[in-house]
């Protein structure tokens, strides 16, 4: 299987599998028990916190463990907004037009709670409009959430600019770094963000563990209530095996980031070169500032799901649009935001390489995809109209 969908679920690293397998065998992994097993559980938890903090240059105490990227984003946005509103005037929240559905929908829910949401447009490469941002950023803006990188089109934002401006305005800044963390250097201090969402599933961690960085001193309401876990900010039994796996994957990611991203960058270059030979293929996103190993295209006159199914028959796993939204919305709002025509946006494909991708996998796509496209276009009433 040639696996090109790390964004929706990268293979779990073998060493992470082994660690989790060992931990699932242990009894009594409750970090709040005074027993020796409890101490061990606490050690796994705190080691993971250090490893995750290490990946983004944060302190361990600034990392909150949650279950998914979506939960991290929700806790970040809702937790920060509902907390900030208690001590500051203003109820505006700024997000970009190409945020992940979890950000978009959380912002929409906050509107029902009395916040007002301003959406900053992006250009045809998916770059957030700086002028519109500066105009929107007034004293009533409590919170900004702009993603670090987009999982559908790969564009990486100039986050330092947006975060600095927010700080000069005394506004809290959250970023969804889920598609980027582990693949591009993330330093919360250099970026200047107050909160950041990341997920281990993007770099070989297991499902069931993700994280939210919240800078020391920034207050946060929880999403839900219960025991003392995560210092009341995320109550509920800790998933120690998954958290430990997340930590190990973060450590591995930090150690190998140069090598992996360089390799991924080159693989993507080669793949892009080969795909550009298919007629009427359009590359989406920013050509330069993008996630390593991320290739996103629109293939006109064919539809994405049909492409995925045919690729799957050839043992190639890719994605079309954001995997979570695929069945929700016929058209990706991200592609709409960068100005794609609706009909074209149907034919979107996203290839994201993982650490296990090799050149054979790239060749495999380069060989199969043109035939698949030809076959589907042969069937497509639009292709014929086009040729006329």
């Amino acid at each position: 299987m040639s696996y090109f969908d790390r964004i929706s679920s990268a293979p779990v690293l073998p060493e992470v599998q082994n660690l989790m397998n060992d931990l699932l065998k242990l009894d009594g992994l409750n970090p709040h028990s005074p027993s020796r097993a409890g101490s061990r559980a606490k050690e796994y938890l705190e080691t993971a916190r250090e490893q995750i903090a290490g990946l983004i240059s944060a302190s361990p105490g600034e990392i909150i463990m949650v279950s998914t990227g979506t939960e991290s984003v929700n806790l970040g946005l809702t937790g920060l907004a509902k907390s900030a509103v208690r001590s500051k005037p203003g109820r505006k929240i700024i997000v970009s037009a190409i945020e992940h559905i979890s950000v978009i929908k959380t912002a929409r829910a906050l509107e029902k709670d009395g916040f007002s949401v301003i959406t900053i447009p992006v250009d045809d490469k998916g770059r957030c409009d700086k002028k519109a941002y500066m105009e929107a950023l007034d004293k009533d803006v409590l919170l900004v959430s702009i993603q670090l990188a987009n999982p559908e089109i790969g564009t990486v934002q100039d986050l330092q600019f947006f975060a600095n401006a927010a700080h000069e305005n005394n506004t809290i800044f959250h970023t969804d770094a889920i598609a980027a963390a582990g693949w591009i250097h993330v330093d919360v201090n250099k970026l200047g963000v107050d909160a950041l969402s990341l997920s281990g599933t993007q770099f070989g961690g297991p499902p069931g563990a993700a994280g939210l960085f919240v800078r020391k001193g920034v207050s946060l309401m929880p999403l839900f209530y219960g025991g003392i876990q995560e210092r009341h900010r995320r109550p509920g039994m800790e998933n120690i095996p998954a958290i430990a796996g997340f930590g190990l994957a973060a450590e591995h990611a930090a150690k190998t980031i140069e090598k992996r991203s360089e390799r991924a960058f080159r693989q993507a270059e080669v793949l892009r070169g080969k795909l550009s030979q298919i007629a009427e293929v359009h590359f989406t996103g920013d050509a330069i500032n993008r996630i390593p190993g991320h290739v996103s295209i629109i293939i006109r006159y064919v539809e994405g799901e049909a492409l995925l199914l045919m690729l799957d028959m050839k043992n190639i796993q890719a994605a079309s649009g954001s995997s979570c939204t695929a069945k929700d919305l016929k058209i990706s709002p991200v592609l709409t935001a960068i100005g794609s025509q609706h009909a074209d946006a149907q034919g979107s494909l996203v290839f994201s390489t993982s650490e296990h991708t090799n050149m054979k996998d790239i060749d495999h796509i380069a060989e199969e995809l043109p035939q698949i496209v030809a076959r589907l276009r042969e069937m497509s009433p639009l292709w014929k109209q086009q040729k006329l």
Binding site: Y301, V302, E303, G304, E305, A306, L309, M310, M313, K327, K330, I331, H342, A343, Q346, E378, M379, S380, P381, L382, K384
Partner: protein
């Protein structure tokens, strides 16, 4: 997510193509919605039997499988018989479709009916 029947028709769609001078043409959907089908039929003027049927489809796996299944179901039937084919029957013949595909991609019978109606209206005009 799809039944084996759907995957069979998707990977090996029957009757893809166009007819020269078709007796009826039907088009439903549009690319903006994600699915579009154009059906061509050739009808025996004496027996009113659909002797040949071809289509082109832009769309997801379900849309392609539905097109193929409808073409098979209609071929050899009279236009009156073919008019009684419903989208639900097509889905049943495919051993079901995922719920979210039932309404948006299951347009095959509509496209067939459009082609038949096109044929019938041309015939009436003569």
């Amino acid at each position: 997510m799809y039944s084996e029947k759907v995957m069979e028709h998707f990977s090996n769609p029957q009757n893809v193509g166009e007819l020269e001078n078709p007796d009826g043409v039907g088009e439903v959907g549009n690319p903006t919605c994600g699915d579009m089908m154009v059906f061509h039929i050739r009808v025996n003027q004496d027996t009113q039997v659909i002797e040949d049927i071809r289509y082109k489809t832009f769309g997801c796996g379900a849309a392609i499988a539905v097109s193929s299944m409808v073409s098979e179901m209609a071929k050899g039937k009279t236009v009156q018989e073919a008019l009684s084919i419903t989208n639900e029957m097509v889905a049943d013949h495919l051993d079901g479709l995922p719920p979210q595909k039932m309404h948006c991609s299951n347009l095959g019978a509509d496209a067939l009916h459009a082609a038949i109606n096109n044929y019938l209206s041309k015939k009436n005009q003569k």
